[in-house]
């Protein structure tokens, strides 16, 4: 893409305007406005972190006020010195951040195991418990009487001084979360939200990624709590109502999932709105709830969607996908060592029903291997064994000489085994380019902290990923649609997009699950050419497909399954004339 001057400014306009407005706010010389603005900054510090959990990773954490409470009491109690020796406010704030991080993980970890609603309930339960503990643990928290909040040393002790302190932290939080948003970690989080299985296949580790994000988000919440305690000047459990949790949560959803600007605006609006309409104060939570309902039912994209002008421009109606297989060698690498994939004696039963009964299969590099058979013959099950969703009861899958760990789908990417899905699994809310970049997840070298601070290694990662992703898009013929949201693409384009994503792994073995379903005859022809070229570039390709013509056109070898066993195997010509196959496949 051509570099334009000031291109980096694009999309940052709202941030810059807000930063200028925030910096210039003291000129208004109204301490009431200062108070509200400080509160908005503090809320945003928490919401910025929570946004990664809710907006990006899609985890419904509705009880985040618990971490604010925790941070507030930690800072207040430590600076007051009622229990332990007096701690300097800044140190106390840092400790609150650490405590927040720790409890962020404690509250968040159930998300790894539990279903959405269950997780929402546990966060809700946690919020209730923390308030009750604060009320009951009188020796430390002062119970219902409360504790005084910390006062930060000059120049942060005055109203505007404290405002600038919070404002600076809010700017830093924005910057850090925005960095994460455009890193492989941000894309991994969105993959967990919208296309978990595909993310797993690309090597997104839900466990480590979510743990990291809960740490970070908890730390921000803890810090926000400390600041909140100072702003309140005196804290009691009453200050931490569940309404506050709702405010944080709804600010994100009103803002729009997967956006930073949107939730930022959402936080400002929700903080400011009740202040300017005094009669509304009693109704504020009612209004938040009404807004939430309206957003969910009518405008799931939130504010961010309204701001996203680019994706409302109409697309060309009659688009053609023209893959360019000739650049595949550059994308996949010229010299590749690959000994292919082999399955030996795989058996797998579900509740007494044999799905696969002693299957041997060899998929050689440089070849397209077709896998056909009637419904229920075990084709998709075979794919799922290879990609680790099922652990076979016996037998082994090997890549060259390495035996693949049974189960463990998230570890297949590191073996360079890529796949596509029967129903395309893409992230609709992200651009085609970002979807493809998700496939390059495991090649990133920068750590979460490096991405947070956009250090050189992170920038190198991203530059490299961008270049490869554009190449992959070009190879599958979608480069013109790189910036288009995936949910605006046609079905056929999604099929090619998935292949593009899979190519980012530079796969030793590529598994294609009915890639031709729903494609036109011309598109199938182009798909065939592309698949064949991918194999010729040194990839072992396994193709599960119903379109007999495509199978016989491009496969070098075909295996026919029936009732979980190999019915026949050979060249397409041999299979084509095999009576038993014709009868099993056609049913005669």
């Amino acid at each position: 893409m051509k570099a334009r001057p000031l291109a980096w400014l694009e999309g940052k306009r709202t941030f810059i305007l807000l930063a200028l407005a925030g910096a210039a706010l003291p000129l208004m010389d109204d301490s009431y406005i200062g108070l509200i603005a400080t509160r908005a900054c503090i809320y945003w510090i928490l919401v910025a972190g929570l946004n990664l959990v809710v907006g990006f990773a899609g985890q419904i954490a509705i009880g985040w006020v618990a971490l604010l409470t925790l941070g507030a009491y930690t800072t207040a109690v430590l600076t007051a010195g009622t229990v332990l020796p007096v701690v300097h406010p800044f140190l106390a704030l840092a400790i609150s951040g650490a405590a927040g991080a720790m409890f962020g993980v404690v509250v968040g970890l159930p998300a790894l195991r539990l279903r959405t609603f269950y997780f929402a309930m546990t966060t809700l339960g946690f919020a209730t418990i923390v308030t009750q503990v604060a009320l009951a643990w009188k020796g430390v928290t002062g119970g219902g009487i409360g504790v005084p909040g910390p006062v930060f040393p000059a120049p942060f002790d005055s109203g505007w001084g404290f405002y600038y302190f919070c404002f600076a932290l809010a700017v830093v939080s924005t910057w850090m979360t925005a960095n994460i948003a455009v890193s492989r970690f941000g894309r991994g989080l969105v993959a967990i939200r919208d296309a978990e299985v595909a993310g797993e296949a690309s090597g997104v580790s839900k466990r480590s990624l979510l743990t990291t994000v809960f740490l970070f988000s908890g730390a921000l919440a803890g810090v926000a709590g400390g600041l909140f305690a100072s702003l309140q000047s005196y804290i009691t459990p009453d200050a931490f109502t569940f309404d506050l949790s709702i405010l944080f949560f709804i600010a994100i959803l009103i803002g729009g999932r997967g956006s930073i600007v949107g939730p930022l605006l959402g936080t400002i609006i929700l903080t400011v709105l009740p202040e300017f309409a005094a009669p509304l104060v009693a109704w504020s939570t009612f209004l938040y709830a009404a807004l939430l309902l309206a957003i969910v039912l009518a405008m799931p994209g939130g504010i961010a969607d309204l701001l996203d002008v680019k994706n409302r421009r109409p697309l060309e109606r009659h688009r053609e996908i023209v893959p360019r297989p000739e650049i595949l060698p550059r994308l996949l690498g010229e010299e590749r060592e690959n000994e292919g994939l082999s399955l030996s004696n795989i058996t797998l039963s579900f509740g007494g029903v044999r799905a696969i009964a002693g299957l041997d299969l060899e998929i050689r590099p440089g070849e397209v291997h077709g896998l056909i058979g009637p419904n229920g013959s075990g084709k998709t099950t075979t794919l799922n064994v290879i990609s680790g969703y099922y652990a076979p009861q016996s037998g082994e899958v090997r890549l060259g000489k390495m035996a693949l760990p049974p189960g463990a789908p998230q570890r297949r990417a590191s073996f360079r085994i890529a796949r596509t899905f029967q129903t395309p699994r893409v992230i609709g809310a992200e651009s085609a380019l970002d979807n493809v970049k998700t496939g390059g997840m495991i090649d990133g070298r920068a750590s979460f902290a490096e991405s947070l601070l956009t250090l050189p290694r992170h920038r190198r990662d991203e530059a490299d990923l961008h270049e490869r992703a554009m190449r992959a898009l070009t190879a599958v013929g979608l480069e013109a649609l790189a910036d288009v949201r995936a949910d605006r693409l046609q079905h056929s384009e999604l099929r090619f997009l998935e292949i593009g994503r899979a190519l980012m792994l530079r796969p030793a073995c590529l598994l294609l699950d009915e890639p031709a379903a729903g494609l036109s005859a011309e598109e199938i022809r182009r798909l065939g050419t592309l698949i064949k070229a991918i194999s010729r570039a040194g990839t072992a390709v396994l193709l599960v497909e119903h379109h007999a013509d495509l199978i016989f056109d491009i496969c070098d070898r075909v295996t026919v399954l029936n009732l979980g066993k190999v019915l026949a195997a050979g060249t397409p010509a041999e299979i084509r004339s095999h009576r038993e196959v014709v009868s099993a496949y056609l049913g005669a």
């Binding site: 009637p374 419904n375 229920g376 129903t423 046609q490 079905h491 999604l494 009915e514 379903a517 729903g518 064949k532 010729r536 119903h546 379109h547 007999a548 013509d549 016989f552 056109d553 491009i554 496969c555 070098d556 060249t571 397409p572 010509a573 084509r576 014709v582 496949y585 056609l586 049913g587 005669a588």
Partner: protein
């Protein structure tokens, strides 16, 4: 067999359907006369099940479906059933927690009580094997018996057209014959049948006419007793112009 000027019971024109963005069926046209038995054949993934679902209104569709002279635009499965179009879905999905008898009663949901009882008894009469087990939980039946129960459910409302989706799937050859024999009896009683079946020979022995579906559209229509039908079907499935495999 209705030979002279058969009146059309089901007429489908320009039908398209799919799941979300995936178009499965394109411009499908077919018709079934009153009392006629028709088989819908085709390879895996051709869209046979989708076609039945689109006809019965289980999924959305474009195009025209007329049944018994009535335009079925916007009609869901409930309206279809009420009009006399029963759809027995694939995979003998009966309600395993309920008794055989209750499963059948549910098929007559909304009918008058005595009428419903009588119809259930009539439906059971087709399948003596499950009639014996009418008080057993459907979950305790074998796969074949569950399939019979599913077909019997389809009969409770005395439909004018019964659509059967792979009634033979997962059954032993003996059971397949029993299910298909019941189908033939129904046809003799004047019920039209639309049968989706993988076992071509058995299907051909059951029906008057066949349609073949491939790649989401009808590629062949023929009488069941035409010569060389299997060969013609094979060509239709693989595409008439199946070229020789490329050798790299």
């Amino acid at each position: 067999m209705p030979t002279s000027a058969p009146d059309i019971l089901l007429e489908v024109k320009g039908l398209s359907a799919g799941y979300g963005k995936i178009g499965v069926l394109h411009n499908v046209a077919l018709s079934i006369a009153t009392g006629e038995a028709v088989a819908l054949l085709g390879p895996n993934g051709a869209g046979k099940t989708t076609l039945l679902k689109a006809i019965s209104g289980l999924i959305g569709r474009g195009g025209e479906v007329r049944f018994a002279g009535r335009d079925m635009a916007g009609a869901g499965p409930r309206e279809a059933v009420a009009a006399g179009l029963a759809h027995v879905v694939e995979g003998h999905r009966v309600f395993t927690q309920l008794s055989v008898f209750d499963n059948l009663l549910l098929a007559g949901y909304g009918m008058a009580k005595t009428e419903r009882r009588r119809q259930v008894d009539e439906a059971l009469a087709f399948f003596p094997e499950i009639a014996e087990k009418r008080h057993d939980r459907a979950g305790s039946l074998s796969g074949g018996q569950q399939q019979m129960l599913a077909v019997a459910q389809g009969l409770v409302r005395r439909p004018r057209l019964l659509m059967l989706d792979e009634p033979s799937a997962g059954l032993s050859p003996v059971l397949v014959d029993r299910v298909l024999a019941a189908t033939r009896r129904l046809r003799q009683d004047g019920t039209a049948i639309l049968l989706v079946e993988q076992l071509i020979e058995k299907a051909l022995a059951t029906v008057d006419r066949v349609y073949a579906l491939a790649r989401g559209t009808i590629v062949l229509e023929a009488r069941a007793d035409e010569p060389k039908l299997p060969e013609r079907l094979e060509r239709a499935y693989f595409g008439q112009d199946a070229h020789a495999p490329l050798e790299a």
